[in-house]
Symmetry: C2
């Protein structure tokens, strides 16, 4: 058991790398990377860090030298022998050799590509431009580094016992949440909290608390695993995750006309369909609006295992999915619905109560598991905030994301308008983005 408070205290006195492993990243990045490595290896993509919380002035909180030090350190990482062995030899979602030998060879020689960093208006402009399978690997480490450096800036001002008590309070809070989750019969829940975690050690603690509190699903418990590959490896857990918005966003940006654009999201899933089956066949329908996506979806998609709901009103989205399955002759009770948008315990209880029995309910619990430091320091300076790292262009074309919440839309205004037209997205309800 690591004494986190001591460790954080020690960080004050020497450089301490935030990201220490190439697999300290979300499992779905590796799955997507392999898919991109096969299907679009030469597409040039730019990833960019976007801080949706303008009041959190990162460039004033975080020293540029420290930021560069951490980014440079991450660039020096290589896949270790043990990590490679684990990826090659492990069973993921019941499948051996999930990662093909050609991909593993490439990954064993991989290093994170160069970054471009500038300060503007109190924020950092951090971008990664290059071949898609390379630059996309920056997403999680970049987010984790920025989020943790901002936390360290606050922690550096705190004394020993303040630190210990801070973590004591945060631990008690996580544990209370877990105790509350234990009251939900038939719960299935995974850790999705890598990207905006408080820190690696903290995420690792939270995962261990979930194991003890809820039990590993492999042994009949409610905890189905973690999206973090390094923690999954070390804690002998299932690494979980499937795919994300970047696939349809880039595929859509590469479309040469409106007709190709309208088909791009389905092309992504057709490629995925070829590669994966079972629990990896999870639809992420909201990139350009859930409703239109499902209405125009090919029939074979209704045969997929489930859906992940990541924006908009989760009840409305789940009901839309249920109605869609029924309209395609599928039994929703056999389908998996994974909720993953800004969840906390009360919301999970509510959603479980509404949908348990009607579908197979599962939760991907993110930031409010691994970074709920709200209210624990003055000025709420450790509260999580909405930081993302997105593909912003592909082969020179801007990407667009609409999602089911206009507050989460990204891309140039004229392109957003075009996408809305092509995908038939009407008025949307704006929801505050918490994390």
């Amino acid at each position: 058991m690591v004494d986190i408070a001591t460790r954080v205290y020690n960080h004050k006195w020497k450089i301490d790398p935030i990201v220490r492993s190439l697999i300290d990243t979300d499992f779905y990045k590796l799955l997507m990377c392999q898919s991109i490595f096969r299907n679009k290896p030469d597409t040039t993509v730019t990833f960019s860090l976007i801080n949706r919380a303008k009041d959190v002035r990162l460039a004033e909180l975080i020293d540029e030298g420290e930021l560069r030090e951490q980014l440079d350190y991450a660039r020096g990482l290589r896949l270790t022998r043990g990590e490679s062995t684990w990826l090659r030899g492990n069973t993921f979602y019941g499948k051996r050799q999930m990662f093909r030998p050609d991909f593993m060879e490439w990954f064993e020689n991989f290093q994170l590509p160069p970054y471009h960093l500038e300060k503007r208006d109190g924020q950092y402009e951090l971008t990664f431009e290059g071949k898609w399978p390379e630059v996309m690997m920056w997403e999680i480490p970049a987010l984790a580094i920025l989020m943790e450096l901002r936390g360290r800036a606050v922690l550096n001002q705190m004394r020993r016992f303040e630190l210990q008590v801070l973590y004591a309070r945060a631990m008690a809070r996580v544990w209370e949440k877990i105790e509350e989750l234990r009251t939900i019969p038939g719960l299935k829940i995974a850790d999705f909290g890598t990207r905006r975690r408080h820190g690696f050690l903290w995420q690792d603690w939270c995962v261990q608390a979930m194991i003890e509190g809820l039990g590993d699903a492999a042994k009949g418990g409610a905890f189905t695993g973690t999206s973090n590959c390094l923690i999954a490896m070390r804690r002998d857990l299932e690494a979980v995750g499937t795919n994300a918005h970047e696939l349809p966003m880039v595929y859509a940006a590469l479309a040469r006309n409106d007709e190709e654009l309208s088909q791009a999201p389905y092309k992504v899933l057709a490629d995925w369909h070829e590669e994966h089956d079972g629990n990896l066949r999870i639809i992420l329908p909201d990139t350009f609006g859930t409703k239109g996506f499902l209405e125009h979806a090919p029939d074979w998609l209704a045969g997929w295992t489930g859906i992940r709901i990541d924006s908009g009103d989760p009840v409305e989205s789940a009901e839309t999915a249920i109605a869609w399955w029924k309209s395609r002759g599928e039994d929703p009770r056999q389908k998996l619905v994974i909720f993953s948008d800004g969840l906390d315990v009360a919301e999970m209880k509510r959603l479980h109560g509404l949908f348990s029995g009607r579908v197979k309910v599962s939760f991907g619990w993110g930031t409010l598991l691994t970074n709920d430091f709200r209210g624990l320091v003055p000025h709420d300076a450790l509260a999580p905030f909405s930081l993302v790292c997105k593909a912003v262009s592909a082969d020179g074309h801007p990407t667009v994301k609409l999602s089911d919440n206009p507050s989460k839309a990204t891309g140039p205004a004229e392109e957003i308008a075009r996408y809305k037209r092509v995908f038939g997205v009407g008025a949307q309800q704006a929801t505050q983005v918490i994390v």
Copy 2:
């Protein structure tokens, strides 16, 4: 910083001594021991463990073998070279060579005398019979061992994260108390929590939290020190404490008639007066009733530095002392009043508000600093309870304690009646004994 949860977890797997040093005891035991060593070295005294909380069935909770193992381990302890150096070389209450060479030589060869242990009615009867300066040294280790073994019996049933969260909650609670104490201007407070602490590491943590939260009084802070000699030595703090009820209780038991009995409490303080001055001249007036004690006290006692209030209604007792000082021509504003009975933060705030400015107020905070695990586990199985270890006889005569709370009275009924008559104690208000 010690990771307490890990340490406690480790305790499950091997024997771990609860008392590891002869100076892991209260400072006043050493002061009194030296006084007894000089004045009453050959008096035969029996100390006995008394559990006032009959519902805590110690003999059912604690394994007799483990108890004997811990007691035997304590018997094997000898003063170490470093401890001896600290006692010989340190300045206590501004005085060098507080401990005289003849006493130090005796103490360097000291070991705890044999114990007698039996089970009866779900309780342990644990007694120590022998020469007073030897058996009296059992008090604190015996209490600490029983209290901690009872805690371990509960902790042994808990899993890793339950343990970590338990300590996280307890830490947050202590820190909240300290934060509250910081709002009291001019506060002076010491740790008196050795005897009924949760455990040594926990007491040590609490003391460090007090240092960081309140500041060491030697550097202008509110924390005046700890009664625990080992922690004082290791944390470079003032060791604090003066004397306790055992002195008047034994002196009284040795009295050959009622006249000698009535003078016994003053004889104790006359012997003390010869040995000590300044802040060590603190009256503990409640052994046979505060009111009568002060009324009949010789004038020279009014010149002492202050008073310690350890039973009964603290406001009433402090008012009695103030009135008494005034009646003897003393200025109460120059006098120290040390409250030490079952204190917690709200009570300290109240007492400080009532007496600050009228006297010099100081607090000896005990069990609710070092063992407030109330409500943290099912059935409140870690809540502190009222365990004491008292002199029950001296040279064959039973001892008596009346105090200002009849719930705390000890001794045979006919002797209690005699003492009440001799010391003129009338009706008393019973108060629930919490700790």
